[in-house]
Every structure is written in structure tokens, then in C-alpha cells.
């Protein structure tokens, strides 16, 4: 019971904190627009989005991952570190002090460079792995454009014309960090890890980009703010993911929004799986496969290793943010968005409206992060060649078919309704497939991909001897346990 209460308290704290920070972000944006120069709010957005939101969520994620994996595995998780202050002395604080101790440990450890390593490239590795990940978030809109203190304030750092292409380009830069780290360490295990990372990331970039093409076709844009869309009003219907496919008439808008996940379920699965592979986390954690080759960062110590580790967590947040903006409707509510926007209070107090929708965005991000943690802690690791065949033989053809089908459907019915119907049929098909094959552990991103691929007949029946009936259940069949 106390554990449930703790979790509830944590949830409420998270929501309130996100709301507070989002409100502060809008308020500060409005203030600098008023007292500074036009466009100054974009600069504060860098501060708030990347340094506050992404960085702090990534930092807390180190603890969330440890706690959440502990709950999955029937453990308590870290709770030993204490702050020696009056009132806090005997409180575990959900393990939060461990973050401090972790950081102190990283910073105070000896920075060891192997004698035979290439010093320049060795130092460059963690930087190249860390920096691009942050830059990724620049084009993701984390809230609506609202009027604060008489100035238009939006919640995005940059809105270049090439939008998502920027994300794909910068994401592929991260491969240099891991490749250099693996090579420059002059360690065979690190080299193996670096080679694995390079091949994995390069091959998954194809699937990553291809899985998004259908979405670009549907919304005729590669810009994230356009894909997220503008809300409709009394006179105009919404655009992007803010539009409704079908909706009820009335002041309170209720309907089926044109979210990317409904229009492009295959694209979503492909993108999620491919970006998972880009983050190099389980089940795609071959580059570090700690029980096999230890990883491309085996020679790194102290904060240099810390940079690799934290960049992985930042990638998780950024990936969740991009996926939210692309497939989960960004900062839009599933219904009632137009009703909320038309409220007089919301129109007067732009920062309040922005903060509410900003909270919606970040809650979706947190949800996707949670899904990623769930997948990360319940799946074993792929093998090197299996990961390649998943990328090239399943995700790539799936993405290609998806592009053709989506293109045809968008051409046939520009209202996207046909696309949505096919999308929902795909979702139903994947669900049925997953259930009928009796492989419940196959949920998540690539579960669908495997399901769509079909199951080869596992030729693993057991000999029909005296023990077979009571012995091992035949593979692929219901457990034939008789005891």
C-alpha cells in the first residue's frame, strides 16, 4: 500500500512540476519578448526545453530506470543514500540522493586514458556521442504558440523548412561518437563494439527515415509544427494531427483525431523500433552487450563514460519527444482541444493554456519513456545477424510497402479517412496476430514487426516417448503440463 501511495505521490509531483516549469517557460518567454528583442523567446526556449526539460528528465531517468526495473524485478531499488540534513536524515526520498552520489562519483573518478589510445580521437568520442543528441530536440515543438503579455511565444527552438530531415541528419552524426570511441580505445572488445554500433546504426537509419515517409505524405510536410498541426476553430477546421477524422457536432469537440499512430501504425512500429536501435538500448544493446564484449566504451572512465551513459538517456527522452510530436498528436489533447482553446480564461491567460498543453506533451513523453523502459527491462538481447535481418528484411520492406499503400490512399482520399481505416485495420490485424500466436511476450515495438513477418514453423517437436507427454511442452503449443 505504501508503495502504491509513493507511486501516486510521485506521479502527482511529476505532473505539478511539469506544469510549473512549462508555465515558467511561457512566462519567461513573454517577459524576454517584452523587455528584450523580438525572437528572444527562442533563446529562452533553448534553456528551458533542452537544459531544463530534456536534461532534467534524462537525469531523473537514471533513477527512474533503476526504480522501475526494481519494481519489474521484485526488488526495492536504490534507497540507501541519505542526505544528512535535519528532517531528511532518515528519508530515502525515492532514491533521489543516489543521483547526486552518482554524479559525484563520475566527476571525481580518475580519468584514465589508455597509453596506446589515440588521445585526440579518444577524447572526441564522448563529445561526438553527446552533443548531437541534444541538438536533436531543437525542432520538436513542445507546446502551442500562445499570446503571453501581448507577444507570440512558441515552445520550439527552431522551425527550419527541412524539419524532420534535420533530425535524421543529426541523429546519424551520433554514430561517429561510438565508432571513434570503439576505434580510438585501441581495445579489441571496444573495436568489436564500435563496429557493431556502426553497422547497426547505419542500417537502421534507412528504416528510420523510410518509416516516416508515409507520415510526410499524409500531412504533406516534413516540418514538425505542421505535422503537429493547428487547432480548428469555429470557422476553420484543424490542420495536421489537430484535425478530426470524424467528430461530433457541438461546443465540446469529441471525435477521432488524425494522430499519426492511427494513420501510420506500421510507420509507428518501424520508427519506434528503428529509433530504439539508434539509442542502442536493450533489446538492441549489442554494441555494449555487457556479457559478450562489454562495449565500445570499455576503456572510458569517470565523466567520459558518464557522457556516453547520459547521452543514452537523453536519446530516450528525445526519441520519446519526437515520437510524441510525430505520432501521438504532439501537445494536442485527444478530444476537447478546441473547446478548451475557446474558453475565455484560456484566451486571456495564454501562459496558462500553453502550460496545460505543454504538460500534455510532456506527459505523453513520459508515457513513451515508460514504454521504452518496459521494453528495455523485459526483453533479452538480439544477436548481431538477427538485428541486421530485422532491419533489412522486415523493417525495410515493411516501410516500402507502407510508403506505397499510404501514398495511394492519400491520393485517393485526401481527407485521410481511408488511411485511418486501413491504419486501424492494421492495428487490429497486428493485435489478432500477436494474440493468436500465443506469444504474449511479443508486445511492444518490434512485436508487431515480428507478428507481421509471420511465424516460421518451429520444427522443435519432442520425441513421442513415455516422457514426452509429461515432459517438455512442445514448442509453440500450449503447455502440456500434467502435474
Amino acid at each position: 500500500m505504501s508503495r502504491v501511495l509513493t507511486i501516486l505521490t510521485a506521479c502527482v509531483t511529476i505532473v505539478v512540476t511539469i506544469f510549473g516549469v512549462a508555465a515558467a517557460a511561457y512566462a519567461v518567454g513573454g517577459l524576454v519578448e517584452e523587455h528584450g528583442f523580438a525572437g528572444a523567446s527562442r533563446l529562452t526556449n533553448i534553456l528551458f526545453l533542452i537544459l531544463v526539460f530534456v536534461m532534467i528528465i534524462a537525469t531523473l531517468l537514471t533513477m527512474a530506470e533503476r526504480k522501475w526495473s526494481a519494481y519489474i524485478q521484485d526488488r526495492v531499488g536504490p534507497n540507501r543514500a541519505r542526505i544528512n540534513l535535519p528532517g531528511l536524515k532518515n528519508r530515502a526520498l525515492g532514491g533521489l540522493p543516489h543521483i547526486l552520489t552518482d554524479v559525484l562519483k563520475m566527476l571525481t573518478k580518475e580519468d584514465l586514458i589508455p597509453g596506446t589510445a589515440n588521445r585526440f580521437l579518444f577524447n572526441l568520442g564522448p563529445i561526438l556521442a553527446f552533443a548531437p543528441v541534444f541538438a536533436l530536440f531543437a525542432v520538436v515543438p513542445a507546446g502551442p504558440t500562445v499570446n503571453v503579455f501581448g507577444h507570440q511565444v512558441d515552445m520550439v527552438v527552431a522551425t527550419p523548412d527541412f524539419g524532420m530531415l534535420y533530425v535524421l541528419a543529426i541523429a546519424s552524426l551520433a554514430v561517429y561518437g561510438t565508432a571513434l570511441a570503439g576505434w580510438a580505445s585501441n581495445n579489441k572488445f571496444a573495436l568489436l563494439g564500435g563496429v557493431r554500433a556502426t553497422s547497426q546504426m547505419i542500417s537502421y537509419e534507412v528504416a528510420l527515415g523510410l518509416s516516416l515517409v508515409g507520415l510526410f505524405l499524409a500531412f504533406s510536410s516534413v516540418q514538425l509544427p505542421t505535422i503537429v498541426g493547428e487547432l480548428g476553430s469555429a470557422v476553420a477546421s484543424g490542420t495536421g494531427q489537430a484535425q478530426y477524422l470524424w467528430r461530433t457536432d457541438g461546443a465540446f469537440d469529441l471525435g477521432l483525431p488524425a494522430w499519426g499512430i492511427l494513420l501510420q501504425p506500421l510507420g509507428f512500429l518501424g520508427f519506434f523500433a528503428a529509433s530504439f536501435a539508434e539509442t542502442k538500448r536493450a533489446p538492441f544493446d549489442l554494441p555494449e552487450g555487457e556479457s559478450e564484449i562489454i562495449g565500445y566504451f570499455v576503456e572510458y572512465s569517470g565523466m567520459k563514460f558518464g557522457l556516453f551513459m547520459i547521452s543514452e538517456f537523453v536519446e530516450v527522452v528525445v526519441l520519446a519527444g519526437v515520437t510524441t510530436a510525430l505520432f501521438l498528436g504532439g501537445h494536442h489533447l485527444p478530444f476537447g482541444g478546441e473547446w478548451l482553446a475557446s474558453q475565455p480564461l484560456m484566451q486571456e491567460q495564454g501562459w496558462l493554456y500553453g502550460a496545460i498543453l505543454g504538460t500534455v506533451f510532456w506527459l505523453k513523453v513520459v508515457f513513451l519513456i515508460w514504454v521504452q523502459l518496459l521494453i528495455r527491462w523485459t526483453f533479452p538481447r538480439f544477436r548481431y545477424d538477427q538485428i541486421q535481418s530485422l532491419g533489412w528484411k522486415i523493417l525495410l520492406p515493411m516501410g516500402l510497402v507502407n510508403v506505397f499503400v499510404s501514398g495511394a490512399l492519400v491520393l485517393w482520399d485526401p481527407s485521410l479517412r481511408a488511411l485511418a481505416i486501413v491504419g486501424m485495420l492494421e492495428i487490429a490485424f497486428i493485435m489478432v496476430l500477436t494474440m493468436t500466436t500465443k506469444e504474449p511476450a511479443e508486445g511492444g515495438a518490434h512485436g508487431g514487426a515480428h507478428g507481421a513477418h509471420g511465424h516460421d514453423d518451429h520444427g522443435h517437436g519432442l520425441p513421442a516417448g513415455a516422457h514426452a507427454a509429461h515432459g517438455l511442452p512442445a514448442h509453440g503449443a500450449a503447455p502440456a503440463s500434467t502435474h
Binding site: 521484485d74 526488488r75 568489436l192 549489442l286 556479457s291 526483453f379 533479452p380 544477436r383 548481431y384 511476450a441
Partner: protein
Amino acid sequence: MADHAKPHAPETPNPDTDAYAHESELEAHLQTKRMVINMGPSHPATHGTVRLKVELEGETIVKIDPEIGFLHRGFQKSCENVTWTQCLPYTDRLNYLSAMMNNFGFLNAVEKLIGLEIPERAQYIRVIGSEIHRLTDHLTCVGATGLELGGFAPFLFAMEFRELLHDRTAELTGARLTTSFGRVGGINRDLPEGWIQKVHKSLDRGMELIDEMDGLLTRNRIFVDRTKGTGVISAEDAIDFGYTGPALRACGVNYDIRKAKPYWVYDRFDFKVPVGEHGDNYDRYLVRLEEMRQSIHILRQAMDTIPAGPIIVDDWRIALPPKPEVYGTIEGVMSHFKLVMEGIQVPAGEVYDSTEASNGELGWYIVSDGSGRPYKVHVRAPGFPVLAAVPHIIEGKMLADLIPTFDTINMIGGEVEQ
């Protein structure tokens, strides 16, 4: 200047000018360099301490050389210097995951040399202790397989059950790992009060945990892909290499000493021996999983039907006399003194005896010269042939296949290197 224009015959093939060289160059493979890496002696995938010298071509293993000896402690020689009873702590350290099975196996062999029949209750307790440790051993193996394939949760479920069993072991023997339980002629202490109920409860929880592990791994597509069809050894090869235990049964050979040559009271229990078919990692995993369920089944039967009675033979030349006799009678003091100082006088002779340990046939070849100490003790460790076949299994396969293979054959450094 005629000499100058004369074309001279090519002496050595020149790839830049010779027409035929171009073709052969196109067909030539890119020159690759093999990489030799050391996995171990201290490596996450090497349970205990074993060094694997792996020669890689890309990610393919061309050659692998398992090198043992890092845990060598001179077990056999040490045994020759102590009394029969004092050998017992050394046997703990053979397969440190299932110490009781080593204890009882050794005692069984010594008793066979003496020609001794131990009391029925002691036989039941030996079965109970053996099966508990079979469970802990298989849990470690299956859990570690999950862990090293990247699934941390199954490992911790396994550890939770193992922890419960270690608690029960500690209540029974006084130690969690190195039990040194049992004595020649029986058992040194009886089951504690209320212990059976506690074990039943632990097994209930354990059954749930095994089902959870089963659910997380058995039908997980990634796990199946990683284990099915990898690390394959045929039944013939397995027999040639001397495989026994789960690794052999996974190849489809139905050989379990508990059935083939029942010892103690194993013939009184109803249990099945799971047999695989393909001899791959997945079958080895499934065999172990099912054996755990069968062990629980045996344990429950044994605990329900255990008879009352003495736990050690009433022969003061073999078992220590009861303490009141030691303190109260001269015969007691003398027997105690002679047993402790000189050891059990095992008649001269030699014997081979084996029991079904968790990883296979644990054989003991012991020679006595009639004095109180062993003349020779040799252990046929089930892990040794299993490890010896690793190059045969894995050469030509991928580096990533080595991990589940090494896990599921479950080689234990302590018993291999003695």
C-alpha cells in the same frame, strides 16, 4: 638500339601489367586479419574463472581454446592427507552451487566401499537435500542464461527462489553454500522442527517464480531466436564426448542415473525425466526448466512420506557415538577419540560410484589402503566433458552464440579444475 626494343619475358607476375593478374585479383578475397581475443579469465560470461582464447574472423569464431586451471586447488591431493570425514569440506567446493550433492555423492561412494546400508530416514534426507540443491543449481543456470542474453528480470526471479532455498539449506545444514552436510553412515543432524512446512511454502513461491521465468523466456521470440538451433551437439557426439545430465538429455538420450541405476530411495518417487531432441541451447534450457518442476515434485513426495527413525548407523566404528556415551563411558570416549584422530577404517579396496548431480554424472573413484585416510580420490566431474566439447560445438558459429552455449552447458569451474 635493337636490344632496347626487345620485349623481355616476364619473370614474376606483375599485377599492374599482366592481363591474367587482373582477373585473379578480382576473384581474390579481401585480405582479412583474424583477431584473437581473450574472454576471461575474468569475464561476465565465464562463470567462475575460465579463459577462452577466441580467434575471430569478423564475428565468426574460427578457433576457440578453453583454458582451465585458474581454480585449481589440488583437491585430489588434499583429500589424501585428511581423514575420510575431513574430505567432506573439500567436496563442498567442487560444484559450489550444489554442495550437498557432492557431499552425498562422496559419502555414497565411501559407504559402497565399506558395504554399508544407511538408515531409511537418512536416505530420504539425502534425496531432499540433493533435490534442493539441484533446484539451486538449475536456477542459477537458467537465470544466468537469461541474464547474459540481456534479460535481467528472469535472473532475479531465479535468485529470489534460490535465496529461499538457501535459507532452508541454512536451517537444515547451518550453512548456505558450503554445507559439509552428512557423514559416512547417514546424516549428522535431523530435519529441524517445522522445517518441512517451511519448505513447502518456499516451493509454492518457487513454483510461481519458475512460471514467471518460463513466461518471460520460453516463448519470447528474441530468446528463442538466440537459443534455438545454436550450440547444437548431436546425440552421438555428446556420448562420444562423455556428456551426461541435462546436456545429454537435451540431445534426446534418456539417461538419468536416478532412473537407470536408482540409489537411495529414488525408485519410490514418481517423477519424469524430461528429454529434449535437438541438443541445442533451447532444449537444454527447457530440460533444466522441466527438471526443476520435477525436483519440486520429488521434494514434495519425499517430505510427505519421510519415515521416522535413526538418521545414522549405530556403529561406533563409523559414526561418532552419542555425546552422553562419550562423556559417560570409556567405550564412548575411545571410539570418539579413534574416529577423530585416525578416521574411519575403510577396508582396503577400490570402488567407482556415481550419482546424478545437477549437471550430470558425478562419479567417484576412490581407493583405500585400509588406513583412516583415502589412498586416492578421483572425481569424474560432469562439467569437464561438457566443457571439452565447446570448441566442437561453437567453432564456425558467431561470437554471440558462445554466450548462451556456455551458459546452458553450465560448466562449473570448481569441479572442472578441482
